[in-house]
Symmetry: C2
Subunit: 330 residues, 2 copies
């Protein structure tokens, strides 16, 4: 590890620690137990807390007093956890961060209500932020939640749709993954007194970063044979998920290639050999190369947003963050 990246890792930890501490003590009530126990379970589940860290890095780049923004950073992490708890119900996922999901541990009713409690707690935490821009920040927060719901709705619609265009897919991942990262950077900028133009640029940076991250996630699922991010090799294919690669291949393959991919995907249980055959098609059609190129394009867009800012603003940490998030090898 280079010295620069080690220093940056240290910096991430410096931002993460107060948020973790804040989140571990935000719930002071114990009863009703069926509400607060699962909420506490979720908030003490660890995770890298990349979103609040990104918010604080942005706030710091604009010269804000980061220590006053912990409640806002916490609000973003709580919001993120709310979406995870509810998405896990919808996706019927059994584990998250190496532990049973809330609905798997306590049942759907408890998870549903714990999620509702978390969204209210997120707003409560947000309202604790000392800022004269609280109303603006509230509006950003709410607008983001609506778009996150839209993203999740599109994702679920795509699961049962035969015909998803690349344009629709990119819009879905912008809402589902990009939007929340865009909120982090937009809010960090707003809370440090950034201008409207700065906020637009920063939100663009966060969203592009999120889209690049998601496409890379699609790629890693099929290019890395090690277990990545707690996912098995080819898990997206096994779950018949519409990914960048599948959509590209079905848009650009020959009729024969498309028919073969569709046939493979129709098997009840897709074997490891089946996954290799599908990956072979993705390579031949150029889907993997196109995904790599597209990730790079979104990285370039993200950096261009930063470069559009006034040069007094120190964007070094944000560029480091971008590299840190996307450094995973294929």
């Amino acid at each position: 590890m280079s010295k620069a990246s080690s220093t940056f890792d240290q910096k991430l930890l410096t931002y993460k620690q107060p948020v973790s501490q804040y989140l571990s003590s935000i719930i002071t009530k114990e009863k009703p137990q069926s509400l607060y126990e699962p909420m506490q379970y979720v908030l003490s589940g660890g995770g890298k807390q990349l979103r609040p860290v990104l918010m604080l890095l942005t706030a710091n780049a604009f010269g804000g007093a980061v220590e006053r923004m912990i409640p806002a950073a916490g609000a973003i992490e709580i919001l993120h956890n709310f979406t995870l708890v509810h998405d896990d119900i919808m996706d019927n996922d059994a584990t998250r961060r190496g532990r049973p999901t809330v609905h798997h541990k306590w049942g759907i009713d408890v998870a549903l209500l714990a999620g509702d409690g978390l969204v209210a707690l997120a707003y409560e935490s947000l309202a604790r932020t000392q800022t004269d821009r609280l109303i603006d920040v509230h509006r950003m927060f709410t607008e983001c939640i609506l778009e996150l719901c839209e993203g999740q709705a599109l994702d679920k619609e795509f699961e049962v749709s035969e015909d998803v265009s690349m344009e629709a897919y990119l819009e879905m991942i912008r809402k589902k993954t990009g939007r929340l990262l865009g909120l982090c950077t937009e809010m960090g900028c707003a809370l440090s007194g950034g201008s409207k133009t700065d906020m637009v640029a920063l939100r663009g940076f966060g969203e592009s970063l999120g889209i690049a991250f998601q496409i890379q996630d699609d790629l890693l699922d099929i290019t890395s044979e090690e277990k990545v991010l707690g996912k098995d090799f080819g898990s997206d294919i096994k779950r018949k998920k519409k990914t960048f690669l599948l959509i590209h291949a079905l848009e650009h393959g020959t009729e024969a290639q498309r028919a073969e991919i569709r046939k493979e995907m129709q098997s009840e249980q897709i074997s490891r050999d089946g996954i290799y055959r599908i990956r072979q098609h993705f390579e031949e059609i150029g889907s993997i190369q196109c995904a790599l190129t597209t990730v790079q394009e979104y990285i370039d867009t993200a950096e261009a947003h930063l470069d559009s800012l006034h040069r007094d603003i120190s964007t070094g940490d944000l560029k480091n963050f971008l590299r840190y998030i996307l450094k995973r090898k294929f």
Copy 2:
């Protein structure tokens, strides 16, 4: 119908209409269809919209410009609908306001996400309110949502608990039913420039009204043999719900009476005769009389809160509302 009550009915309609109109046009997007169609379905489902009307009546009593508060009143109704959609999932209810519930029509995943969308929409609507007290109102709103979650959690816990005290029951219905009515009156007061003391009194009025309403609902379920509120006679008993009457009877009955009630409640399917026998026990133990007395006590408390206000404030409409809500005959 007396002239006074007919005039009041007309007044309720005058407040209800702009809210209905507002709610029917608040959703402007059609896609993603799996998100916005069920949200629209819920908001166009009618209902008396008593909560926004109560907010506007309160605002008017404090001399506020009611026409500017429609978005806030709408926010309360949207919030109410969010809780209904999620509660219906947890309670596995198939119908609501004479129509299929969202999860019954579209499945749990869609209902879960539509509820999430509604809570965000409620905040969006709230943020449209023209007021210099937006931050305070936001805080009230959030605090209320957390308590509504607590109320629902307690209600679900009580379903599987053998031993629920009257104190715990009253706290549950305060949170589950009283709290939202308390938000209506507190917000109406706040938006019309009421003082902190006024807000406390108004919230007390709304909460007491809500508790009286819920105990009356428990009573009507077993005293009125006609179908009330879309519920069948004795439906609470059939569903083994902990009601005021059951809790009182199990706290105050003789050992023999308690054993008989428990035995009746244990039947897989409780017959009409079984319901009559349980009601007979409730009468003999004095549970029905106690419920009637308790409803009256909460009505008195509610009125006392109004009478504590400065006499310049015209509380006539709020007292009419109280009578209107509780006029149902036993």
